[in-house]
């Protein structure tokens, strides 16, 4: 309940924040804090310095670029994304995931980018990023770089960010056609971590899938990229046999543990079930749109 002591810095510019991170060995960035602060209260995390970036302007916007990319700033809260019509118009997968992250109160504070940087294998947004082939923009003392999300996580709760780099935004690349997709999460109650979560992103022209991505939550040591399953969707028209095949491939890609949320076999089965349901639903929506 009571965290250890730490030094607190509240920079007002990005440069200032990066300088503090460079100068301190054991420093963590504090954005929403809805994952970090609970860990600090249980003393599972005891950073010597917290760098609060909430006072840095310009990090809280999201929207589509002219080229169709979608950018989400580091301080965009889950709740703002949940209520955004812009997001709903452009990113159906993200819009369907937003209400399922944590609970409504945590969502007013927690951030999309922070969640991805937390690198929890049970993080919902990370699966969406994988499905959408997104990237994280990291800014450090020498400039900025773009890190594809599939290379971003190096282990549970560990990313490839250097100690003096700050993630400033998430970027979703443009689609060639129309976006479909959604997120399904089996949680025992609101706020529980996923027993299994499935993010499916489809880029379709007419009834044909141009590209697809599938990310899985809670069924591996980190977010699972069901690449083979996604590849099997490309060029298809979401035929029933394709859906069944893709669902099975996705289940095979999952490497869940048996625990008190269920056996590994059960979780794989939920993955397959959810993939099929999302694809069936996409097929119905697509036919409605057409």
């Amino acid at each position: 309940m009571y965290p250890s002591r730490f030094n607190y810095e509240a920079p007002t510019t990005l440069d200032e924040a990066i300088a503090i991170l460079s100068a301190n060995d054991d420093a963590k960035v504090l954005a929403g804090g809805q994952s970090l602060i609970p860990m600090m209260k249980l003393r599972f995390a005891n950073p010597a310095t917290l760098v609060d970036i909430n006072n840095i302007p310009g990090l809280d916007t999201h929207g589509a670029d002219a080229d169709g990319s979608y950018r989400i700033g580091a301080l965009c809260r889950h709740a703002h994304l949940e209520k955004s019509t812009t997001l709903a118009d452009h990113q159906p997968l993200l819009a369907s995931c937003a209400p399922l992250v944590a609970d409504p109160i945590v969502r007013t504070r927690g951030t999309f980018v922070g969640s991805v940087c937390h690198a929890d294998p049970q993080g919902d947004w990370a699966s969406c990023m994988v499905a959408l082939n997104g990237s994280i923009t990291a800014v450090g003392p020498t400039g900025s770089r773009s890190i594809p999300v599939k290379e971003f996580v190096s282990g549970p709760f560990t990313t490839v960010l250097a100690k003096d780099e700050i993630a400033t935004e998430a970027v979703i690349p443009p689609a060639t056609g129309t976006r479909f997709g959604s997120y399904l999460k089996l949680e025992r109650r609101v706020g529980d971590f996923a027993t299994a979560g499935v993010a499916v992103a489809l880029d379709m022209t007419g009834q044909t899938v141009n590209a697809a991505g599938i990310g899985l939550t809670g069924v591996g040591a980190q977010t699972v990229d069901a690449a083979d399953a996604a590849a099997a969707l490309t060029g298809s028209s979401l035929e029933s046999n394709v859906i069944e095949h893709v669902a099975n491939l996705a289940a095979e890609a999952a490497t869940p543990r048996s625990d008190h949320r269920g056996s590994a076999a059960y979780k794989k089965h939920v993955v397959a079930t959810f993939v099929a349901r999302i694809l069936e639903n996409a097929k119905r929506s697509e036919l409605q749109v057409a």
Binding site: M1, Y2, P3, S4, R5, F6, N7, Y8, A10, L30, G33, Q34, I37, P38, K41, L42, L50, D52, N54, A79, P99, A102, D103, P104, I105, V106, T108, R109, V190, G191
Partner: protein
């Protein structure tokens, strides 16, 4: 108003840095000299003696500590007090004016939306945040908005009725 007779520590340990925070709580500017690790819930309860905000768990689940930070509901046990510096906080004590109760308070009393009262402040503030955005919610929307606040006594059904009652009052319908 300053206090003329508060005791201060005999010696300040310079290895333990403190910082001054100023927070506008229920419309009133208030200040404290605190360590960064102090949780906002504890600043409100122990520093500012506003004990209506309660703490009920240690894993950010129960929502009994919910307050409004710049109008949005947050779990004050998962925000450091320093982060509220320069911001506005509304607690349950700020709901009623000197003349009358907030519709949500009237609704909770009218519809028996509370029993032990422990989750009630947090529950009401989450409801107020909802009603400020949408004062005519469906039952599902109410249940969804309150799904970050746990209650053990009521079974939620009367809480939902209380929120709908308050919405009707805010719309001028009762």
């Amino acid at each position: 108003m300053t206090s003329l007779f508060e005791e201060v520590p005999v010696s300040i340990d310079n290895d333990i840095p403190t910082t001054r925070v100023e927070v506008t709580v229920n419309g009133e500017r208030r200040a404290a000299e605190i360590e960064p690790r102090l949780l906002l819930a504890h600043l409100l309860r122990n520093g500012f003696k506003l004990t209506g905000t309660h703490t009920g768990c240690d894993t950010t689940n129960c929502g009994a500590c919910t307050v409004l930070l710049d109008g949005e509901p947050v779990k004050s046990c998962t925000v450091f007090a320093v982060q509220a510096n320069g911001h506005e906080v509304t607690t349950v004590e700020g709901l009623a004016s000197s003349e009358q109760l907030h519709p949500i308070q009237e609704g909770f009393k009218d519809e028996h939306g509370l029993q032990c009262g422990f989750c009630t402040p947090g529950m009401m503030l989450s409801a107020v945040a909802l009603l400020n955005e949408n004062n005519d919610p469906t039952e599902d929307e109410v249940r969804w908005a309150l799904s970050g606040n746990l209650c053990r006594c009521t079974g939620y059904q009367n809480i939902v009725k209380a929120v709908l009652w308050a919405g009707a009052k805010m719309r001028g319908e009762q």
